[in-house]
């Protein structure tokens, strides 16, 4: 599955999970997804790109904050519910304290043009981080059983539906998601028949 040659690592304890997710969250300005991908797949090497996309698929389809769902599932994968709790607590605790402190101080600085400009610049970079991460994850589609042409059509359609047509996410997931899953189901038929006989 993985396109890298190094073997995957795993966290040594719940504490390591908590610390890793705290540090990861603290780097995530304007969204944590880009940092999560870099830390979990490249620095810690706890997940392959493919596993990251799979976990993110559940995080997207289920209700709730995507990155929090990702933290839960990654934690659960290594240490069960204790790991899930450690990862989620790491993701939330320190950032919560910081954001409330900023809220308390915000009214004094909100109208300052330097602060407003800095926020604008950070917003532009945050948008770039998520696009760059998406570009990187495209390589995770190479092993996809649907094949490159079908993946390309689905990716472009979903992008146009959400970015230009502004369809509600629920309809994109239900509509295009169902088409994609049925197609994948058909392409997996041969493999699964073989696996069923083997198992």
């Amino acid at each position: 599955m993985t396109d890298d040659t190094h073997p995957l690592a795993r966290p040594s304890s719940e504490k390591e999970l908590f610390v890793a997710f705290t540090l990861l969250a603290l780097q995530g300005f304007g969204g944590v997804l880009a940092v999560a991908q870099r830390v979990l797949c490249e620095q810690k090497r706890w997940l392959t790109k493919e596993q990251f996309v799979e976990i993110l698929a559940f995080g997207q389809v289920l209700p709730g904050p995507n990155v929090c769902n990702v933290a839960l599932m990654v934690g659960d994968r290594f240490f069960g519910w204790r790991g899930a709790f450690a990862a989620l607590a790491g993701m939330m605790t320190v950032p919560l304290v910081i954001v409330l402190a900023i809220t308390a101080a915000y009214s004094q600085y909100a109208s300052n043009p330097v602060v407003a400009g800095a926020l604008k610049g950070m917003g532009a970079v945050a948008a770039g981080l998520i696009v760059g991460t998406a570009l990187k994850l495209i390589s995770a589609l190479r092993a996809n059983p649907m094949g490159t042409p079908a993946c390309t059509v689905l990716l472009v359609s979903a992008f146009v539906a959400v970015a230009f047509l502004r369809w509600p996410l629920v309809w994109v997931l239900l509509g295009l998601g169902t088409v994609a899953c049925l197609l994948a189901w058909r392409r997996l038929r041969a493999d699964t028949a073989a696996a069923a006989e083997g198992g």
Binding site: Q27, F29, G30, V32, A34, V53, A57, F58, Q60, V61, L62, P63, G64, P65, C68, L72, A84, M91, M92, V94, P95, L96, V99, L100, T103, Y106, A110, G117, A118, L119, K120, G121, M122, G123, A124, A127, G128, L129, V131, G132, L135, L137, A140, L155, S157, F159, L169, V172, L173, L176, A180, C181, L182, L183, A184, W185, R187, L188, R189, G199
Partner: protein, 179 residues
């Protein structure tokens, strides 16, 4: 920033409403922001429009998951108890469901349906990330803003430059009024 906190805020009603919103928040808590606006600004009158928008902006500019905007709204509406009630409400149902779903699917990871779901959703998940970047970028017009976004995207894609370095450069460039 609220000065005197409203004393008569029904924390239980807030908590209950956010429990419900949690299960509707496919795509993240921000997708149910319109309904939060209806309740907090409209029905209950706990926040002004400016406070509502500022809550989202503050959370996006702060480190950590964007869902923390719910805690900022709760804090502005009813202090720390408000933040606790609303954040707990928005998190509890979705986290429980996510954990249950992760275990269910992991136990059945060899099932064709589970494998088809993961394979089928992969291109759509990546498309949603592109769309998020596009929407964030399109909110603020101007070619210099767009250029900054494109440069950051290429650097993330092609280099291992630290993400915080890029965010810091963005803050400096923006603070100098160049974006």
């Amino acid at each position: 920033m609220t000065g005197a906190m409203p004393l008569s805020v029904d924390l239980l009603a807030l908590f209950a409403h956010f429990l419900l919103l949690s299960l509707l928040a496919i795509g993240g808590a921000i997708t149910v922001a319109p309904d939060m606006h209806r309740v907090l600004v409209g029905e209950m009158g706990l926040l002004s429009d400016v406070q509502f928008n500022a809550s989202i902006a503050i959370a996006q500019a702060s480190p950590g998951p964007n869902v923390l905007f719910v805690a900022v709204m709760g804090y502005q509406a009813a202090g720390l108890p408000g933040a606790a009630a609303m954040l707990a409400g928005i998190m509890l149902p979705s986290t429980t469901l996510a954990l249950a779903a992760a275990r269910w699917s992991h136990a059945r990871r060899d099932w064709r349906a589970v494998r088809a779901f993961k394979a089928g959703m992969a291109p759509i998940v990546i498309a949603l990330m592109f769309a998020t970047g596009w929407i964030l970028s399109a909110e603020t017009p101007g070619w210099r803003h767009m250029l900054l976004t494109v440069v950051a995207a290429v650097l993330v894609w092609r280099t291992r430059l630290h993400l915080l370095v890029m965010i810091t450069v963005g803050a400096i460039v923006g603070g100098l009024g160049w974006v």
